[in-house]
Symmetry: C2
Subunit: 363 residues, 2 copies
DNA sequence: CTGAAAGCGCTAACAA
DNA sequence: TTGTTAGCGCTTTCAG
């Protein structure tokens, strides 16, 4: 007992520096049970007593101790939220949504950004387990198998995005990449593009793979078989996008359009193009993915596939909550669909020479 | 006791579904005190026993319950971190730094984004109090007085940025706006600018005011007295910047340069200029403040005043930690200086007509 | 409807 | 050095 405010031994003449439920009970002249009931708004408490209790609480400015509460009730009212990269604007928007909803429902969240590092991820899962989270939303778009085991063993409700094991207590948010990316390809095709490149995300990221797959499928739907040199690996960061575009720039006939696995990559691409003195969409059309807030103020504003952070946050929280609060019917929400859709702005246009005769590619 | 794993009464033939310190003690054939000591790495435990304890822990995959631990020890190892706007990239970078440092030192953080809303702020302080945080970093660059009282009353160590009350247990991070903004003005003046506008942040934000003051002071250092029409109110968002620039655009002689109170505003300004068909820095020079990651990939890359998120995170954590772990010497760290400095990129140049004859604006 | 009492899982005197 | 024991602040049976 390091707690400095805790008296060593009970003594009748002790000054009660700490103000707990007992202090309130004494002041309100009721039992601690009544105080507890009042605070928890149990309907059966006599209004008169409740009134006295609230007054005492007000007067002493009492704040209940969540730790003690959780300890005895077995409910921490805490959810974990793991994201891969808090510096990618997509995630703060997601976190904000999740936090808003959680708080609204009386939950707190423990956020952790793992920077794609399995070590950090492992450590952070451990910490969450120690804090007795009631569920974890793993919004990293991919996870290492062993870490998963660590969590699943505990039977902590989990919600994944894109990819997760099929087990009770685990929900998966299925993002319909095909729809949005299909729209993107159709948009480009309608504009006259046939030579479309793709900047992927990190190879081990499941979501990045799904986006690529959706792209390939959409292309072949239009009878286009992209050759592999048009698919270049990025890493979902600004730099990664810039580097990917650099590679693309060295290609013999420059692709007339490029779709990126996320907006950060697309912005990197835009920047590299700016450096190269190429105009967008004049020389080349660009499409991103995510629709982060900044996409709208790029020069030019970025055409992109929107994936609603709010929908994701809401679905993730909902899944966790239903697992926690009604475990028996939790199977009903095992999979939730998240839709995506194209937002057309100004980074896409007809390819050079599609109407007027083709001319030499600049650069 | 809702806890479903908790047996109602002790019974000798109970299956111990829950694995706590007692279970470990039994398996390792030691007392619970020894288990506790082992976990807490108390040096005096017999290595042999410790070994047995660790094995049992390993075998049962035991994770200690932080809530119980905090409850008895009086140390939650939790810090609160309040930011104003998680969707402004400045903050995620700050959060990341703070989290890294905190975790490294065995602390957890509770993050909350208040969106400048005093109601949310109040609610979030309350929640943090309930969770028994040991300190709160209030990185909102401004706070309402009554909320402050709420916290100060509890004697929770606090660290503010820019502005905070002078009380024991409270540290303040003083940002040296004058240095960076002075550099910015000097840079512009050296380039030949005299007609420099300023886009402020929200009026009630202390930091925004300080930035404006630093600007005014720097201007007068160069003998320039900016007329008030050149100071336009923004709100530290993309939209706010765009709207501010719109106002500026209607000014009779367009200012030749504009300094913004933060990068988000500057990006909004850049975008509005792009819309207006004006070139940067050809027609007008722009300087931001913060140096968020995206500033470097703007078109053109934004000249801005850098304020290190990492320095702030480190200083904030350090202040909190020293208050918690050695309260007696906490007065030694009441004020910490944070420096700022100009990062020159490509959004600044000589004003039109200063050296070479003016040419038509490109688009 | 209210109060007394038994813990939640753990740490820290204190004694052995 | 190790074990025993008394709580941390709260919820929740269970009697009354």
């Amino acid at each position: 007992m390091t707690n400095p405010s805790a008296p060593k031994k009970k003594a009748s003449s002790e000054i009660p520096e700490r103000t707990d439920i007992r202090t309130i009970a004494r002041l309100a002249n009721v039992s601690i049970a009544t105080v507890s009931r009042t605070i928890n708004r149990v309907a059966t408490v006599n209004p008169k007593m409740a009134q006295r209790v609230w007054e005492a609480i007000e007067k002493l400015d009492f704040v209940p101790n969540t730790q003690a509460r959780s300890l005895v009730s077995g409910r921490s009212k805490l959810f974990g939220l793991i994201v891969s990269e808090i510096t990618n604007p997509f995630f703060p928007e997601l976190i904000q949504g999740f936090e808003d909803i959680a708080v609204e429902h009386g939950y707190e969240i423990l956020v952790s950004s793992t920077s794609y590092d399995p070590k950090r991820m492992s450590h952070c899962i451990r910490r969450m387990l120690e804090r007795k989270v009631e569920g974890v939303a793993i919004m990293t778009f991919g996870i290492e198998e062993p870490l998963l085991v660590q969590l699943a063993k505990r039977k902590v409700p989990l919600v994944f995005i894109d990819f997760g094991p099929e087990r009770p207590g685990i929900s998966v948010l299925r993002v319909d990449y095909q729809h949005g990316i299909g729209q993107a390809v159709r948009h480009l095709a309608a504009l006259g593009h046939r030579d479309i490149a793709f900047v992927t995300g990190p190879k081990r990221l499941h979501s990045a793979q799904s986006r690529l797959t959706a792209f390939m499928k959409s292309m072949s739907d239009f009878g286009i078989v992209p050759d592999s040199s048009r698919v270049v690996v990025g890493n979902h960061t600004l730099d990664g996008g810039a580097m990917a575009m650099e590679k693309l720039l060295s290609l013999k006939p420059l692709p007339t359009a490029v779709i990126c696995s996320n907006d950060m990559s697309a912005i990197g691409v835009l920047h590299k193009l700016y450096r190269a003195g190429l105009s967008v969409p004049g020389d080349i059309s660009i499409i991103g993915f995510d629709d982060i807030a900044i996409a709208d103020v790029m020069m030019p504003p970025l055409t992109t596939v929107r994936m609603s952070r709010y929908d994701i946050a809401k679905a993730a929280f909902g899944a966790l909550r239903s697992h926690v609060e009604s475990p028996q019917e939790s199977h009903c929400c095992r999979e939730i669909n998240i839709s995506t859709s194209l937002v057309i702005r100004e980074s896409t246009g007809a390819p050079r020479g599609s109407i007027s005769p083709p001319r030499k590619g600049s650069v």
